[in-house]
């Protein structure tokens, strides 16, 4: 999946990058317009390598108010996630500016590496990595939709899970891409998020690079905690050992928990992601966001998406909770109980996070 003609400057392949995630609400405003508009303008102005605005299916924030697209009266302020990657200096500056314009929400800054010819994921000191491939939904690769090709490649190489998320707005190589109601939408921003053993991810990345124009992709360190009901070795306790180190500079460090499942995954006869959000909210988590993908898989399931003429949806779901490293243990325990049968649970270290009030 490649972007339009590169205009912006990004970090070199294999180089260090920084990834910013901003969790906020659809109704948040800044300077007489929606905050989401201002955030994407900021990403464009800072010429970040990639930026995507995702709208959540369900979630809550610090105010503990549930928003869900299941109920009409609770769907006007759905959770949004704006994420961007780029050269560390530019991303840091973006985060600082963002803190000035937003009155609420959560900003996280995480380390990422640009996957590229000079740097293979095999060089990572971690057993598992998270790969994110950025591109457009309309892009094609080897004669089929690029996201289907990327997911298929990852699945074939035994990568533990992959989800295709489609954005409503975005930036690629510093240029703005927007999903419009009446448009061909060739460049609706899309991203593939995958988690797996580094060797398997490395092999998949090598194949993706060989099969056409290399996509913009980042790698991050991640710990897989559960996979389809199997708790991974106890040596990988929670929080991940490395999360204990402090980080100099401002902001506090935290842990990002992610649960990958499907709209069809169940716990106790109820949709798994709804149970997870309900439980996290009941226990007082500071926020949680469920994103609905359009294609993907987790564990041993084959890649899936919605089918024509099927009432029930069959798309992947990703639920994210970010909190301080210590507090996150409670949210992990809740997630572990609900994913006793199925689902992929990962933890990532968040070196810097800012809760805006």
């Amino acid at each position: 999946m490649s972007g339009p003609e590169a205009a912006g400057s990004g970090p070199a392949p294999g180089g260090d990058a920084l990834k910013l995630c901003f969790y906020f609400g659809e109704h948040d405003r800044h300077g007489g317009r929606y905050l989401s508009e201002a955030v994407l303008d900021l990403f464009e102005r800072r010429r970040l390598a990639a930026g995507v605005l995702l709208r959540g299916a369900e979630g809550f924030g610090a105010a503990q108010l549930l928003q869900t697209d299941r109920l009409l009266s609770l769907s006007e302020d759905l959770p949004l996630v704006a994420l961007a990657v780029g050269e560390p200096g530019a991303v840091s500056a973006t985060a600082d500016e963002l803190r000035g314009i937003a009155d609420g929400g959560l900003i996280t800054l995480e380390r990422a590496r640009l996957a590229g010819a000079e740097h293979r994921p095999g060089d990572e000191p971690h057993e598992e990595v998270k790969l994110t491939v950025y591109g457009g939904r309309g892009a094609r690769r080897r004669g089929r939709p690029a996201h289907v090709d990327v997911v298929d490649t990852l699945h074939r190489h035994g990568v533990a899970g992959a989800t295709v998320l489609v954005g409503v707005d975005g930036v690629a190589s510093g240029r703005r891409l927007r999903a419009r109601f009446f448009a061909v939408n060739g460049w609706v921003p899309a991203m593939v998020v995958a988690v797996g053993e580094r060797e398997r991810v490395a092999a998949a990345v090598a194949e993706l690079e060989a099969g056409g124009e290399p996509p913009l992709a980042t790698l991050e360190a991640v710990t897989v905690l559960r996979r389809d009901g199997t708790a991974l070795p106890p040596s990988r306790g929670f929080p991940p050992a490395e999360a204990g180190e402090g980080e100099p500079g401002d902001g506090e460090w935290g842990t990002k928990l992610m649960v990958y499942c499907s709209e069809r995954s169940e716990h106790d006869g109820q949709p798994l992601y709804l149970e997870l959000i309900r439980r996290l909210r009941a226990e007082g988590a500071p926020g949680a966001t469920a994103l609905r993908g359009v294609w993907g898989y987790h564990g041993d399931h084959a890649p899936h998406g919605d089918r024509l003429l099927s009432l029930r949806r069959h798309v992947p779901i990703v639920v994210t909770v970010v909190d301080g490293a210590r507090a996150s243990r409670r949210w992990f325990e809740a997630a572990a109980e609900i994913t006793a049968e199925t689902g992929l649970v990962t933890a990532e270290r968040v070196p810097r996070m800012f809760t805006l009030e």
Binding site: R70, L71, L74, R312
Partner: protein, 121 residues
């Protein structure tokens, strides 16, 4: 229909839409679970009210304004169907059928109760 009735329908409809919105949001936030309680609360209270209006034998322009304008705008069939379809998409089949059966059974009971109440008064 007179101009005054038209204006009455518009005002009653607007007011009822706002009331519905407030009640739906309050109930949904209070019982935020898989079941669409807000819409059920709106439709059942609307059914009681319409039964009551029929029970007190309201007629003429007053009936048009209250029943047609007000309660027509207050209750919502489309949201009931939309939320049922979303439950089906999410795979919550039991909740889907409960939402349909409960709305029908309790809705009939609500109209009957409202009608009785209107008759008694």
């Amino acid at each position: 229909m007179s101009a005054a009735t038209w204006i009455g329908v518009a005002l009653a409809g607007g007011l009822a839409a706002l009331t519905r919105f407030a009640l739906d949001a309050a109930v949904s936030e209070r019982f935020a679970g898989a079941f669409p309680t807000g819409t059920l609360a709106v439709n059942l209270s609307g059914a009681v009210a319409l039964g009551f209006v029929a029970g007190v034998a309201l007629h003429g322009a007053a009936l048009t304004i209250v029943a047609g304008g007000g309660l027509g705008s207050y209750t919502t069939f489309s949201t009931w169907m939309f939320e049922s379809q979303r439950l089906g998409e999410a795979g919550a089949a039991r909740t889907l059928w409960l939402n349909i059966a409960l709305s029908l059974a309790a809705g009939l009971a609500a109209v009957t109760f409202g009608h009785w109440l209107g008759g008694v008064l």
